[in-house]
């Protein structure tokens, strides 16, 4: 436990030291909110966007660079398993995502008079599922792409279209038909739906089950495909 706490604290510190992660997970969603004049329907989508930026956009580059720098190998000869570092990375992503989301929610309520979420525990559960789901996809990318630059690039290439097509950065209603249909097959879409359900107070059972399924499948794929060196 002592080791896991120390690893998590370190990962969080490093994330907070990364200007890109910090900006895109905290300031950027606020800017979008201002541009949309505090549109209440947009907030759950922005929360999904925040965790996708961290888990899918940033995490693959971080994990692949740990492998490339042989930091994972170095950890493997300590009493802790490098897998513990991955757990710490997930917790750090969840915490930074939570910080960014909380800031966004507070500003939307206080600054723009958005109606507060109806079911906070449900919203929290949806947030956790969505965040862990994004991280599991990030690990799949880090497992498949060998070098750090490549993993970072692929992470961005997967994340950017997804936040637009899944209805996170812009509502899917605004998309042309063909593009909207693509969204049906993207893993972030149930995340947006689950968060929207939590906000409005309706339990989105199917999206949440889907998210859990993607987490299991993604983690299994990452475990099967990951190369330590």
């Amino acid at each position: 436990m002592k080791a896991f706490t120390a690893l998590t604290a370190t990962e969080l510190r490093l994330l907070f030291r990364d200007p890109a992660s910090l900006f895109f997970m905290t300031a950027f969603p606020l800017m979008l909110l201002v541009l949309k004049r505090g549109d209440s329907g947009a907030v759950p989508g922005y929360i999904a966007m925040i965790v996708a930026i961290g888990g899918i956009g940033a995490l693959p580059g971080i994990v692949a660079s740990y492998r490339e720098r042989k930091f994972l190998k170095r950890l493997a000869i300590t009493p802790v398993s490098p897998v513990m570092l991955f757990g710490a990375q997930v917790v750090a992503q969840v915490v930074l995502g939570l910080a960014g989301s909380a800031l966004l929610v507070v500003v939307s309520i206080v600054g723009f008079g958005v109606e507060p979420p109806r079911n906070l525990p449900l919203l929290a559960a949806a947030f956790l599922l969505c965040s862990v789901m994004a991280c599991s996809l990030g690990f799949v990318i880090a497992a498949v792409v060998r070098n750090a630059r490549g993993a970072s690039l692929i992470g961005m290439l997967v994340m950017f279209p997804m936040i637009f097509l899944a209805g996170a950065a812009v509502p899917r209603k605004a998309l042309p038909d063909a593009l909207r249909r693509i969204g049906d097959f993207l893993p972030l879409t149930p995340g947006v739906d689950a968060l929207g359900g939590g906000w409005s107070g309706t339990v989105a059972v199917f999206p949440m089950v889907l998210l859990a399924g993607i987490i299991v499948a993604g983690t299994a794929a990452a475990v099967a495909l990951f190369r330590w060196e």
Partner: protein
Amino acid sequence: MEAIEVRDLHKTYGGTRAVDGVTFTVRSGETFGIVGHNGAGKTTTVECLIGLRRPDAGTVRVLGADPARGRRALAERIGAQLQDSSLPERIKVAEALRLFGSLYREAADWRQVMERWGLAPLAGKAFGDLSGGQRQRLMLALALVGDPEVVVLDELTTGLDPIARRETWRQVGDLKRAGTTVVLVSHYFEETEALCDRVAVFARGRVTAVGTPGEIVARTGTASLEEAYFALEGDNR
């Protein structure tokens, strides 16, 4: 007492026999050198010692345990500095030492380790901003922060300038005086000769000689360990 026992170790990677029947023992408290040219099987052997690789055949015992089975328990008692392993760019020196200290059940005081290895002035510096010598010193300190009984140092001084190398040699001497068993892997014969009580000379995945540097030199009728290495190479060809 023997700290490390390696008997008839074999390891093959995709058709290449990296280690082909290696046998040697390291006594508790001695500084033991593994010397030979690149590709001689030194690093593979060491990676079997610290549980990073599983031998194809042969036995390895470190502090009485099999590293391939009891890796975790053994990791509490071994420290290692690996060839070109590094840390995240933005982690600071003090943070790295504190982090690694917290990974062990019983660790040395990381602040003391930082002081002792002259890293205190660099405490707030990010890993990415350190010079090659400073990085090396930090990685060495990280190998010791768990207060190990056995320390494995792989190519400790490669890439260091002569002053930093001499300084590192002095530090290895300090370890020895503290009673730590040290396995020093190197392709510098001069370094091995100066620091090690006993040496295993590696060539093409085999050990061509084991003994004190003086014994090996005398046995081959040469003037230095490096010459002895080439004399042994000639015998095996």
